[in-house]
Amino acid sequence: MSLSSTSKIADLLEKNETELLRNWLTELEASGLRRDDLMRSTELNQQCHEFLRMFRSAAQHENFSDVQAPEWGSVRQLLTDISRDRAQQGFTSSEVATFIFSFKKPLFDQLKRELAQQNDLLVESIWTVTDVLDQLGLWTTEVFQQAREKVILRQQQELLELSTPVVKLWEGILALPMIGTLDSARTQVVMETLLQQIVETGSQVVIIDITGVPTVDTLVAQYLLKTVEAARLMGTDCIISGIRPQIAQTIVHLGLDLSGVITKATLADAFAIALKKRQLTIVSKASQSV
């Protein structure tokens, strides 16, 4: 790229800023990106304005065509912020990319007008600008994708917390029926929730029922034991019920020490122990009346 095309572009951006901005906004509106339902139009104006200003100052440098160069730092930061915001606001990735791509037409129009007599320079300038805007567009979608993934991850986490209910079986007795395959991330969330619930309900006994869990790996088994230990430090007894033969073998195989943990075959057995610990008995009415 020759210096003349770069300086031409910088020059043109400087001279026609107001007009470029107006045309760009019109273009955005036509493309349907002005989503008044998702964001205010003043916010969009502001973002376009700021982008133009930074784009212009980046265009004054030699590294114009390399958007990873330090001169482009502030533009990249701006686009990062914009993409993240839009990911939160619920825009799609093409809507976010359109923000950049829709700037092409106004800029090309302007270049055509300015360089009508200099064909070579015009072609070169358009090529340079296309290249740069494409890179920026890609950057935007990349950041957007990452931000989306984060949003999704957070939603999954929230769902996770909902999907493992801690139930109060009796005054002072909590149960956590776990169902499905446990991975370590899920186990950690569940266990932290359980310990929090212990405090909130003031429970003295907790039953972790893993009847519905087909297998556990090392990490999950360790988390289970750590939870029992943590609960003990908080003054709460833990009972693990429903350990399947396969899981029992895993535990033995891993050499994990279950000696300090009360284990029972079924949730019912565990509940009986829990009642006993709470000094409660269940008496049938018939036997009571004798």
Partner: protein, 133 residues
């Protein structure tokens, strides 16, 4: 990356100060309560080693920030006796003092990244990071 502050560690009141500063930074960075507690505890362990075995030193708090994640980095330095065998020092139960020998290995388990450089007679530097989940 922005350096937040450097705290000198010269007596046991400074360890409390380190805990408080680390706590408020983790709160400011949006760490959850369990994560906050883990970082503060790790900081307390390493700061005490800096005091007891390093003869005093300092810790620097830094924010790490990229497009994907945010973290807090703690760098402890001292000009003390140094650690001859780092692997051994990290083992649970190993102590040359009167402790339980849990501090160093425990701090490592509480953090995401953990690095010790040490030279006998020159001093020790422990750098550790925890990322916000």
């Amino acid at each position: 990356m922005p350096i937040l502050e450097t705290i000198t560690i010269l007596d046991s009141a400074d360890i409390v100060r380190v805990r408080q500063k680390v706590r408020s930074q983790t709160v400011a960075l949006g760490f959850g309560l369990v994560d906050q507690t883990k970082i503060v505890t790790a900081a307390s362990e390493i700061a005490r080693n800096t005091l007891d075995y390093g003869g005093g030193g300092s810790v620097t708090l830094e924010v790490l920030e990229s497009a994907h994640r945010v973290g807090l980095r703690l760098t402890f330095t001292d000009q003390g006796a140094g650690i001859a065998n780092i692997e051994l020092a990290l083992q649970n139960g190993y102590t040359t003092g009167s402790g339980l020998g849990l501090g160093l290995g425990g701090a490592k388990r509480l953090m995401h990244e953990f690095e010790i450089t040490s030279e006998v007679g020159k001093g020790t530097c422990v750098t550790t990071v925890r990322w916000r989940q």
